[in-house]
Symmetry: C2
Subunit: 333 residues, 2 copies
């Protein structure tokens, strides 16, 4: 399977490292797996014989790769000319219009390329359209890394709970706010101080609104609702309240009654992101940068899955999606 | 796919109910799915055209089914004559020799019948032998319900974390002891009183040794080690200490320091079941009859999955295994 990676930031680079380290596992699913192209916003490298992964891991800019580099070559051009079987799309998220990832994913699916993405933007903007496009063109379209990082919530429901009907989902879906609220809970700091530390530790963006106003969590909730509960949800459908109004006093008061205040996303009759009192003994009550998703179904009743919602662990979700594509291609070959 | 159920207790009956209710999902994977036989220790019913599920759900003893009932007909005979494609084995667990399930599973795999089991016994006694037999005869051999009830730990690792290497597993694998320890933790009761209540509520067996001495948890640990970490573990390899020595005083002391005492199974260099201090904020620290499995891997780092370890939820694991067999048969057909 000829593969390209579009977007060569943290996740793209991590994926190349894992592909290089885990050759043996990849070969079990596909003897002919080759990474043939990598692009970012400045250009791309392409070699139909396969790229040199060791070399790729050493360079800082794609231009340093040498003769296979095309300066100003666009990702769309790479998608078109590579005739790849699989594209991993890992460009930065823009939730306003899903671009540039949305165009890349559409292009790939339209010409029959399987897609794995870690990018929330395109899914928030156009989940139904992309799913339909994938189905029409017999393409796999996987996006495990978009919600709760390394937590394999989509494959869990798709592959392990296929016979269960999901009735309700609640989740702690944003690691930054959970870090802040955990700090307020354990160390009794103010919201402002906890936020400042999150920013200093680069857990939060400089503009914290995306995290603390619940925008990121709301995006993830939209994707969960569409993918796991067959909703046709849009970002605007989410009732959203962030954690700026949460005082140290409120956190301490809750703690005395054995509750923690958490930013919880809920998919029930409505979609809601809001601070909630979570009993400290409830499985959903995880701390630090952990994420948790609590799924209520008709048969298993309640399943909770917990893991790291961002950072270096996220490559697990992307790599496992890649293997799933290889595995499905193999069994249907 | 022609299916038989061997063992018609709580789980077997629950499975028939779910098969009856979820026809639509089954049909998506296999239009020709039919339940053709059901057996217990007294006899079996068999109809190659398919059994009447509504009728089956109404009767108490198989003999009431009527003309398709064979009194004293053995399960082995049913397996042989039914020419089934899939057997669900749900006979009672005997961990000493794995019988009678072990013979049924061997018989089925030997003649090319896929097997789904909820029975720990055969797996504890003969994991490697049965796995090899299944592989040799191109049979699926799934056993999700044997460990942690409804928690889909095997399919999680097999289907969602296929690219991760499992380095360590720890788990709360026995609901009865967790119920007892939770009662001691929250209500400050003695071990004896908590055990008595567990027995009255039929959570524990009359002879509590299987639960409180860690035998059940050790069996599950052996299956986890063999299935998820490629070990060749036997029951005797597990260092085992139960919870009879845990006093209310010890539980209270731990609680003051924000720990709960839990019966934890660990697969690391060695296999061990023993009471451990678990920090109350750790994802593994679940209460009541919940089970939790904490998996440490090279990529995702830490994933914890939590759900009900026994009772009516277990049918989720069995039914999802059945669907997995149908799905795999479909894609390779």
């Amino acid at each position: 399977m000829k593969t390209i990676i579009v977007g060569f930031g943290f996740i793209g680079r991590d994926l190349v490292r894992v592909i290089n380290e885990k050759r043996d596992i990849i070969t079990k699913y596909d003897r002919n797996f080759k990474l043939v192209g990598v692009s970012n916003s400045k250009g791309y490298i392409y070699n139909e014989e396969g790229l040199d992964l060791e070399k790729l891991l050493k360079i800082k800019n794609l231009s340093e790769y040498g003769k296979n580099y095309k300066d100003n070559g666009s990702s769309l051009e790479l998608i078109q000319k590579s005739n790849a079987d699989l594209m991993v799309e890992a460009t930065p998220t823009r939730i306003q219009d899903g671009e540039p990832g949305l165009s890349y994913i559409k292009k790939a699916l339209n010409i029959g390329i399987h897609v794995v993405t870690s990018n929330k933007g395109p899914l928030v903007v156009a989940f139904q359209e992309l799913s339909a496009l994938a189905k029409k063109n017999n393409c796999e379209f996987l996006f495990e890394a978009t919600v709760a990082g390394a937590v394999p919530i989509f494959s869990l429901v798709r592959e392990c709970l296929q016979g269960d009907k999901v009735k309700r989902i609640s989740g702690i879906l944003n690691g930054t706010t959970n870090y802040i609220l955990s700090k307020m809970y354990f160390e009794e700091t103010s919201f402002e101080l906890a936020l400042k530390e999150a920013q200093e530790r680069k857990i939060s963006e400089k503009d914290p609104s995306y995290d603390v106003d619940g925008i990121d969590a709301a995006c993830k909730l939209v994707i969960l609702a569409n993918a796991l509960m067959d909703r046709n949800a849009k970002f605007e459908d989410v009732e959203r309240l962030g954690i700026r109004g949460i005082t140290q006093n409120a956190v301490s008061l809750a703690k005395k009654s054995k509750f923690a205040i958490k930013l919880v996303g809920t998919i029930d009759k409505k979609l809601e992101v809001a601070p909630k009192l979570v009993p400290i003994n409830h499985p959903l009550c995880v701390h630090g940068t952990l994420n948790a998703v609590h799924v209520e179904t008709d048969l298993a009743n309640e399943i909770t899955i917990i893991g790291y919602g961002a950072g270096k662990e996220t490559v697990s979700a992307v790599f496992n999606d890649v293997l799933t594509v290889l595995k499905k291609a193999k069994t249907t070959a």
